[in-house]
Amino acid sequence: MTRFVDGGLIDRTRPLAFTFDGQAYRGFAGDTLASALTANGVRLIGRSFKYHRPRGLFSAGSDEPNALVELRTGARREPNTRATTVELYDGLDAASQNRWPSLDFDLQAAGGLFAPLLGAGFYYKTFMWPAALWEKLYEPVIRRAAGLGRAAEAPDPDAYEKAYAFCDVLVIGGGAAGLMAALTAGRSGARVILVDEDFRLGGRILSEREEIDDAPSLQFVARAEAELAAMPEVRVMRRTTVFGVYDGGTYGALERVGDHLPVPAPFTPRQRYWKIVARRAVLCAGAGDRPIVFGGNDRPGVMSAQALRSYAVRYAAAAGSPAVVFANNGYAWSAAFDAAAAGVPIAAIVDVRAEPPPVQMERANRRGIRVIAGGEVIATSGKLLSSVTVRARGRTETIAAQILAVSGGSSPTLALTSHFGGKPVYRADIAGFVPGVLPPGLSVAGAAAGEYSLARCLAAGAARGAEAANDLGFTARATPVPQAQDKPITVSPFWHVAQSRGLAFVDLQNDVTAKDIAIAHQEGFRAVELLKRYTTLGMATDQGRTSNVNGLAMMAALTGQDIETTGTTLFRPPFTPVAIGAIAGHHREKDFRATRPTPTHAWARAQGATFVEAGLWLRAQYFPRAGEADWLETVKREVTATRASVGLIDVSTFGKIDLQGPDVGRFLDRVYINTFSTLAVGKVRYGVMLREDGMVMDDGTTARLADTHYLMTTTTANAAKVYQHLEFCLQVLWPDLDVQIASVSEQWAQVSIAGPRARDVLARIADAPLDVSNAGLPYMGVAQGSVMGGIAARIFRVSFSGELGYEIAVPARHGAPLARALMEAGAPFDITPYGTEALGVMRIEKGHVSGNELNGQTSVADLGLGRMASTKKDHIGRVLSERPAFRDPDRPTLVGFKPVDPKDRLRAGAHFLRHGRSAVLANDEGYMTSVAFSPTLGHWIGLGLLARGPERIGETVRAYDPVRGADIPVEICRPGFVDPEGERLRV
C-alpha cells in the first residue's frame, strides 16, 4: 500500500533487492534508498546525534538532516551517507547507525540519561568540570553518546581520481533554470558544462505535476536533454556536486562515478574530484523546504512538504496515510495537491495564516481537502507518528496522521554564493535569504535567487545563460522561453510554535532545540556566529540547510532585533561532504608522492641492497650479506672494506647546477662565503652558502670546468631550494650579471669510489688520454674525458669519506653500466658497494658536517667553518652573520665526542650537562647531532654542538638522554677521528 500502483519515475520492470539492518526489501531502478524504504513502509531510519531519538526521513535531497546510514560492509563501509541521495542498486546493504542495541530499542534514548549534559554550550561547559574525572568519565560517556557512524577499519579498496575541466559557462544545477541556461549558452557555441547532483536531470520538475508549453513538463526535460546531448561543446555531468567556489573561476566538484554500483566498474574510480575552471558560471541550485519548529517535530513521519510531494510524485510512494500538512505558504499547498493526486490522502491542511488567499482555498475546496486556517500544530504522538494535535481559534483537535508534511517557506540554496564572503540578504517579501555580493563571474538564476515560479525559473535561466555567453563574445538569445505557470509567492513569516508540547527541534542533525537557542541568548551568545559555535546549530553534513534560518529568526525574536540586522552565518566549502579519499585521489600509501630511483637502483636491488628514503629519492642504505647478524655488522664490513681497499656508492642524488657566462665567478663570490672567481680551471672547491639572515643554507663542491663554465653540487635535500635561490639572486637581486644556470641533476649519473685502491680501479675504466695519476688529477681536481670506451665523463677528485676518492659522472643512462664496470674493474681489490649508512659513519669519523648539523639554526662559526669566510667581499648573509649574537662565545659549537667508557653507546639528541648540574633547561649546554659506531676505532663516536666546545677539548660532560634513559660521561674531542691531517686524500 505504500507504493502506488502506477506513476513515478521508477522502472517497474527492473526490481532491485536490498537490505536495511539485515532485513530484505525490494525497490526499483530509479529509486533512492530513501524512496525504496518509504515504498516498503520503513519509517524509522536512524537515531539522532546526541539524544538517540528515533528519526525518519525529513527531506528527499542532499539537505537531509536525519537519515544518515552506513552503506556497504567491510572495507567499503561508508558512514553518514544520506539515504536520500543514495541511488538504489541491486544488493545494496545499508544499516542504521548511532543506536544500541538496536534501532528500535536504544538504551541511551530509553534512559534519556545524558540529555542534561548535552545542552547548549556543552562542549565548553564540560571543560570546566573537575579535570580528574575528565579522561575516565566524561569524555568516554560523551563520545559514546554523541556520535554518528563507524568508519571502515580496513583500507579503502577503491580508487579515486582527480580531474580538470575548462569551459566558458558552467551551469550548476539541471532543473528548469539550469536546463534553460545550458541550452541558451550552448546554442551560442560556448563551451558549457552542466552539472547536477542528482542521477537524473530536471530538478523539481521531476517531483511536480506541472506543464510547460501545454504539455507535461517531463517532455520539456527530455527535449532539453536530447538537445544538450547533441551539442558537441556541451558536457552534462550527472551525479556531480559543485561543493566549492575558489579564486580565478575555479569550482571544486565531486563526481560519484561508481557510488550507484555495488563496486565501481573495472578501471573506473569510485569518485572523481574535479577542478572546473569556468570563465562564467550560473548557479541554478534551486531552493529547500524549511521546517517549522514545534514540540514533537522530530517524530518519524514528520517531513518537509516538498519531500512528501517528491516521494509521492517522483517515486510513487508514501510511508503511511493519511497526511496532514502544516504550513505558512502556498507552495506547500501545491505540494499537498500533487501528493493527493498521486494517491496520498490529505486529512487536512493546517495553515498559520488566518485568511489564506482565496484562490488557494478554492483549489482546496475543489479537491475536497479540509483546511484549518489560523491553526498551529502543538503536539505529535506515537513512537512513529500516529496523530497530530492542532490548535485553532482557541480550541484543540487531535487528527490521526502517519505523515505530517511541514513547510515554513523556501530557503534558496545559496551556499556557493557565500564562499567568497558574500553575505546573504534577507527579503521579507519571501521570508527568506537571497544571495548577496556574488563571487566574480557567477550569476544566480531561478529559485536559488528567490524566483520561485516555474515561468520565472525558465526565463531567468535563459537570461543568465545568455548574459554569460554574451559577456564572453558569443551571441546568445534569451528568448523565446517556454511557457509555464507563474503563480505568485504567498508566504507569511512563521518560525516557531512557542506554545507547544515536547522538545522542539531547530536543528535535527545536531539535536539543537528551541530551548538551546534560549539558553544561548540568556548566556550572551547572541551573534549568529557565536550562536552556531555555542549550540552547534548548522554544523555537520547538512551545514544547517534546514535549520539556520529558523535558528537565527528565533534569536532575532529573543533579542528584539529584526532578521536583517541579526544576519546569517557564512557558508564555507564544502557544500556537501567530500570524502578525504576523493581529495587524496591516487596520492595515497606508496603513491602519496613520487619516488625517484637513482640510475643504479636496479643494479643495487640486484645486489640485495636495503633502501632508504632521502627526500623523494630511494638510496641504497646498506648491502647485507648472508650470515650478517644485523645492519650494524653489515655497515662495519662496508666501512672497513672501503678504508682498507676500495668501496663504491651512487651519489647521483646530489643537486647539480650548471652555471655559464662571463660573470659566474663574481656571482659565486656573492652566493658563497668563500671565493670562487679565483678558482683555477680544472679545480674543485668546497663552498658554504648562507641565507640572508646569516644561517648556513647549504654546502657542496663547485668545479670550474672552463673559464666561463662552473658546475655546482648541492646536498640531496636542498637541490631544488638552492636552485630557486640562485634564480632569485640572478633575476631579482643582480639582473645585471651575465650568468645562465640550469639544473642538470637528472642528466648526470654520479658514482663515487673511495679507498686506497680507488685510483687502481679508476685507471682500468678511464680511456686514454685521461690521466688519473696523482700528478695528472690531483686532490680537488676535475678532469673531463671518457670512460668505458667512449662514454663522456667528468671525474672529480673529491672525498666525503676521508679516503682517496673520485666521483665519476656520466650521462644518466650510463649510470648502471658505470657501476657494473667499476665493480668489474674493482673485483681484484674486492671492491665493496656501500650505502648511506656507511657513508654516514665515514663522514662522522672524518668530522664532516651534514644535514643533522646544517639544520637551519647553525652559523659557519658554529660549525667550525668560520675561517672559510672571505673578509674581502660581500656575500649573501654576511651582514647579518656579524650580529653580536652570532659572535657570542657561549654559542654551541661543533666538537667531537667519545664515551669515557668505550662500551657505552652514544645517542643523537642527548643533551650536554656539566657534571653535578641538575637536568634543567638553564643548564643545557647543547646536544649531540650525529653518532655512529666507528669500526675504525672500535667504539661509538659523535658530533655535537657544545657551548664553548673548542675551548674544552679533553673535558668530560654528561650526555643526558631522558627519552631513552641514558646519562653517560663523554669526552670532548676535536671533530675528525680518522686521518685528521687529511694525508690519505692527497696520496
Binding site: Y246, D247, T250, P735, D874
Partner: protein
C-alpha cells in the same frame, strides 16, 4: 587561484612558489647603517589588505621570478611582470 605568467600564460597557482612582498630592496652592504638596513630587509614586512606587489617563482614552468600585483582580500591578480624587468 591562477596566475598569468608573462611567458607561459594563465597557469594554476600550484606551479608557483610564493616569496612575499616585492618592495624590499637588498640594501647596500657597505653602507654605515647596513646592519639595521639588513635587519629591516630580512625581517620587517607590511601586511596590507588590498593590492600588493609580490614575488612569485614559476618553478614548475619557465623558472622565472615574477612580480605579481595581487589583491590580498580577493586574490584578484591585477598584473604580472618578469622580476628582471619590473625592478630594473
Amino acid at each position: 587561484m591562477r596566475i598569468p605568467c608573462p611567458y607561459c600564460g594563465l597557469r594554476d597557482a600550484h606551479e608557483f612558489s610564493y616569496l612575499g612582498d616585492a618592495a624590499p630592496q637588498r640594501p647596500d652592504p657597505a653602507a654605515p647603517d647596513a646592519a639595521d638596513a639588513f635587519h629591516d630587509y630580512v625581517y620587517l614586512r607590511d601586511n596590507p589588505a588590498g593590492p600588493m606587489r609580490e614575488l612569485w617563482y614559476h618553478g614548475a614552468g619557465c623558472r622565472r621570478w615574477l612580480v605579481v600585483d595581487r589583491d590580498t582580500r580577493t586574490h584578484a591578480i591585477l598584473g604580472t611582470a618578469f622580476a628582471t624587468e619590473a625592478r630594473s
